[in-house]
């Protein structure tokens, strides 16, 4: 194999996600269509868009929980299948409440071994693995705290550990920043960024506000009005490109600190 071939195969291997002319939705209802994008290994990607635009839907496609309406989506060069251990997932919805008096490490451990049969009596090594995942997100001191006693920011770190415990190659994080104040949001984004760079994993992070993410992003997917635009933030998030894509007048405004606000499809979107 000559070096050029090798470079080509390397480049192909590096591609983690590829969508071609992809349309997604629920029976009898297409939510968005005509999406083309690809993400490579080690990319930090934000997925933004208004409520109901179909961001969670994209995650469900990648998780194999939902089939495309049209087009193809490939994950690691094959069709997404449910139960892929290479995916770390933080869902938008959680069942944790005031009554969930279960220590954090138990949740993380279950994300590691919860699909296995048996009682798991020899849980020592599992708990050790879980503890390491908690350490990696700086939550070692929370390991034996009950989930019900944690703040929103602490919980999100636990969920991140839950996603990381199986050593995934791609992270799907559905709105991990909701309910966080600006400082906690920044901390969590920095943590995700650290994970992305250190472990060379790809991260797709769904958010409503892109601004805390902007300094770290490699790519952004903007989903709205049944369409999806993808590219580098500075290319996608411009008045010209969004207006061209959506056919209506969309304005992207930037303030002196570089914060972005997208006005037109949804007022105040991304406004801080």
């Amino acid at each position: 194999m000559n070096t050029v071939d090798k470079m080509i195969t390397d480049a192909v291997q590096q591609e983690i996600v590829r969508a071609e002319n992809l349309a997604a939705g629920y029976p009898g209802k297409t939510v968005w269509q005509g999406a083309n994008f690809s993400f490579v290994r080690g990319e930090f990607v934000a997925i933004i868009g208004p409520n109901g635009a179909g961001k969670t839907l994209l995650m469900r496609l990648l998780l194999g929980l939902q089939q495309p309406v049209k087009g193809t989506i490939k994950l690691f060069n094959s069709q997404p299948k449910r139960g892929n251990p290479k995916i770390g997932y933080v869902p938008q919805r959680h069942l944790i409440d005031n009554d969930t008096n279960i220590e954090c490490i138990e949740l993380v451990r279950l994300a590691f071994s919860g699909t296995r049969w048996g009682f798991g009596l020899s849980s020592k090594s599992e708990r050790k693995t879980a503890f390491e995942a908690l350490e990696a997100v700086g939550a070692a001191e929370l390991a034996y705290q009950p989930l019900s006693a944690l703040s929103g920011g602490e919980l999100q770190r636990i969920f991140l550990a839950e996603a990381l415990v199986s050593n995934p190659e791609i992270l799907l994080l559905d709105e991990p920043l909701s309910n966080l104040d600006i400082r906690r949001a920044k901390e969590l984004v920095q943590l995700v960024n650290k994970v992305v760079r250190l472990r060379n994993v790809t991260a797709l992070l769904v958010a409503h506000d892109i601004n805390p993410l902007l300094p770290f992003l490699d790519k952004v997917v903007y989903i709205a009005n049944g369409k999806a635009a993808t590219g580098k933030p500075k290319d996608v998030l411009t008045s010209e490109s969004l207006t061209a894509l959506y056919g209506v007048n969309i304005e992207v405004m930037r303030d002196s600190r570089g914060n972005v606000a997208i006005i037109g499809i949804e007022d105040h979107h991304g406004d801080e």
């Binding site: 139960g83 997932y89 279960i102 138990e106 949740l107 919860g114 699909t115 049969w117 798991g120 839950e162």
Partner: protein
């Protein structure tokens, strides 16, 4: 059952020896122990999945089955098992959210109780049958019922042993568990079947109407006392066992129903765990001590409670 003719002796050993001379007491302890263990374990999953009302409803559905069986001259336990399993699978198939639909469940529950009343009234035998299904009659349990109870308990134990982690995972974080490949519909059905069988055997001890006291309350207490699911289940089983054993013991001497003693004991412990034990007394100890050592610590620092 005339049980008030036995004389309580200060020597507990003699008391126990005397008690176990009677076969009905042996049977009661055997079945009661099996039920307490199963209710404590399954109950933990019930509270974790917020399905307390669904399990309560299952027992009422079982009432119609038990009454129907009495009418047909079959052992009520088979009617109970048939109806609770059918109802449980039905609820699970209607969707995982169905388990939380209070109004629909309540409507079916009332209908089933009504059906049971009809069956009982059609049965021209004695009304004590209805009474024992509604409130339990552990002191009259037959040796074949003990055998059924123990067998069912072993099956449940094996099932929980095999599916412990998936069940726990699905109860705690449904979305991630689903993404990791666990089948939520299948686990939902299995869970409801476990509850159905557990409820059916527990009805013999506390009856259809008092099922909460064994299936839900001890587990709810245990959940407050332990942060590790395994420990919580152990505590839940211990509470159910203590309530059942001590109630059987007292009922041997006192002419009141066993179910009354069980529900009272569970209720008093619930009040303790819910209102006296918690943070108000000693907020910071919660972090410093594990739940069990906290109990000891409280005994030392607050001997008056």
């Amino acid at each position: 059952m005339v049980t008030n003719s036995y004389i309580f002796n200060a020597n507990l050993l003699i008391d126990v020896q005397q008690m176990f001379q009677y076969q009905f007491m042996q049977h009661a302890f055997e079945a009661g122990t099996a039920v307490a263990i199963i209710a404590g374990i399954v109950g933990y999953f019930v509270v974790l999945r917020r399905s307390a009302f669904a399990s309560h409803a299952l027992s009422h559905i079982g009432f119609a089955g038990a009454a129907g069986a009495v009418l047909l001259g079959i052992n009520p336990i088979f009617g109970l098992l048939t109806f609770t399993c059918g109802g449980g699978v039905g609820m699970a198939v209607l969707g995982p959210r169905a388990v939380n639909r209070d109004v629909q469940i309540g409507t079916v529950l009332a209908f089933m109780l009504g059906l049971g009343v009809l069956f009982i009234s059609l049965y021209t035998g004695y009304a004590t049958e209805a009474y024992s299904i509604l409130f339990g009659e552990i002191l009259g349990i037959s040796s074949s019922d003990v055998l059924i109870t123990v067998t069912a308990s072993l099956i449940i134990l094996a099932a929980v042993g095999i599916m412990y982690r998936p069940l726990l995972f699905a109860s705690l974080d449904e979305d991630v568990a689903e993404a990791k490949g666990l089948s939520m519909p299948l686990l939902g059905i299995i869970f409801m079947l476990l509850v159905a069988v557990a409820v059916s055997i527990a009805v013999q001890v506390v009856g259809v109407l008092l099922i909460f006291s064994l299936m839900v309350t001890p587990a709810a207490m245990a959940r407050r006392l332990a942060k590790q699911p395994r420990n919580a289940m152990i505590i839940s089983v211990l509470i159910s066992l203590m309530a059942t054993w001590s109630s059987l013991f007292i009922a041997f001497y006192e002419p009141y129903p066993v179910s009354f003693f069980i529900t009272s004991m569970v209720f008093v412990s619930y009040l303790f765990v819910r209102y006296i034990y918690p943070s108000r007394i000693c907020l910071e100890c919660r972090e410093k001590f594990s739940s069990l050592s906290l109990a000891k610590h409280l005994q030392k620092t607050h001997p008056n409670i």
